[in-house]
Amino acid sequence: MSTNLVLLALLMLAVTYPTRAVGLLTPGLDRLPKVAFDYLQLVGPAVLAALAAVSVMVIVGDDEVPAFHVGVEWVAVFVCLVVVARRRNLFLGLVSAVAIVVIARAAGLAAIPS
């Protein structure tokens, strides 16, 4: 059983814990520049959107060259986005996305990724 990523988890802990602890353990955090707080608040949506977009729009083939991808995954992710935006229920959004992909692939409307 591989344990290589345990070290990665420890390193992720090493950069995550201070962000949680610094405010509780040290005074004066509110003296950081406002623009720094603003930037931090925007990182979450940007990184998560970047991950989602690259996951569904970019594929890397055997030749290692990235290529633009269009597929049922777009529809599934968009439906998830709409469900979460309207119902504020992420789990329902995920179930909807998975259902769309499963149905499309079972019906032969979309290829099953290799």
Binding site: A46, A49, S55, L81, L90, F91
Partner: protein, 227 residues
């Protein structure tokens, strides 16, 4: 309930990306940050080098600074050792539960914090991760069951939960767009880093008057994983 559901989905995604049980559980116990954990699954799958993963994890989790700063005045009478442990358990959910509880009471309630952070989040998240990664290993053809779409759907859903104003929306759209363009011209891993850095910079350009400035408590979304 939400922590259990998403812990299970995280376990499935981690298994799909090739994480072993020990690796997936190490993430859930040590990192204990849903969005960063989901993101790490994508980073590892896309071949992003560890320094890049660590940088993006730090950026993604940096908003916890807002939470710890907001809770600090309430918990200043708690011993520093217990505050150090509390810090590890400070997720979106723990913050949302505790800050609302403290405001309702008009004082801090340390026991309430532990119940919310451990009983309602940490334990369900980790047990569900274990279930997800074990069950995921038994699924012979995950793509047939749409497991591969869980990751991007979870990412976009979490992003929507963090969009509380026009600035966040611009950051997300620009982040996604830049990521795809850069990924197509270089590699997916570099694209993700570029989107995560450039998106917030462009979001900052949106005039403050146009943006719905959110207090930390407004950032918290109900029904999501620990982040």
């Amino acid at each position: 309930m939400s922590a259990a559901g998403f812990g299970f989905v995280y376990g499935l995604s981690a298994r799909e990306a090739g994480f072993s049980v020990v690796e997936a559980m190490a993430m859930s116990t040590l990192v204990f940050a849903g969005a960063a954990q989901f993101a790490a699954v994508g980073y590892v799958a896309s071949g992003l080098a560890w320094p890049g993963i660590i940088l993006l994890t730090a950026l993604l989790n940096a908003r916890h600074l807002l939470y710890s700063a907001a809770l600090s005045p309430w918990l200043r009478d708690v011993s520093i050792a217990r505050r150090a442990v509390m810090s590890h358990l400070l997720t979106d959910e723990a913050f949302a539960l505790s800050i609302n509880h403290f405001r309702r009471l008009g004082r801090a309630d340390e026991r309430g914090y532990w119940i919310g952070a451990i009983g309602a989040t940490f334990i369900p998240w980790n047990l569900a991760t274990l279930a997800g990664v074990l069950i995921g290993a038994q699924i012979p053809d995950p793509a047939r069951f749409g497991i591969d779409v869980i990751f991007p759907a979870a990412m976009i859903g979490l992003a929507v939960g963090l969009v509380t104003g026009r600035r966040e929306l611009v950051a997300a759209i620009v982040g996604g767009g830049v990521a795809v363009v850069v990924a197509l011209s270089t590699s997916p891993a570099i694209g993700i880093v570029a989107g995560g850095i450039v998106g917030p910079l462009v979001g900052l350009v949106v005039p403050v008057g146009m943006a719905a400035e959110a207090a930390p408590s407004d950032v918290v979304r109900p029904g999501g994983p620990p982040s």
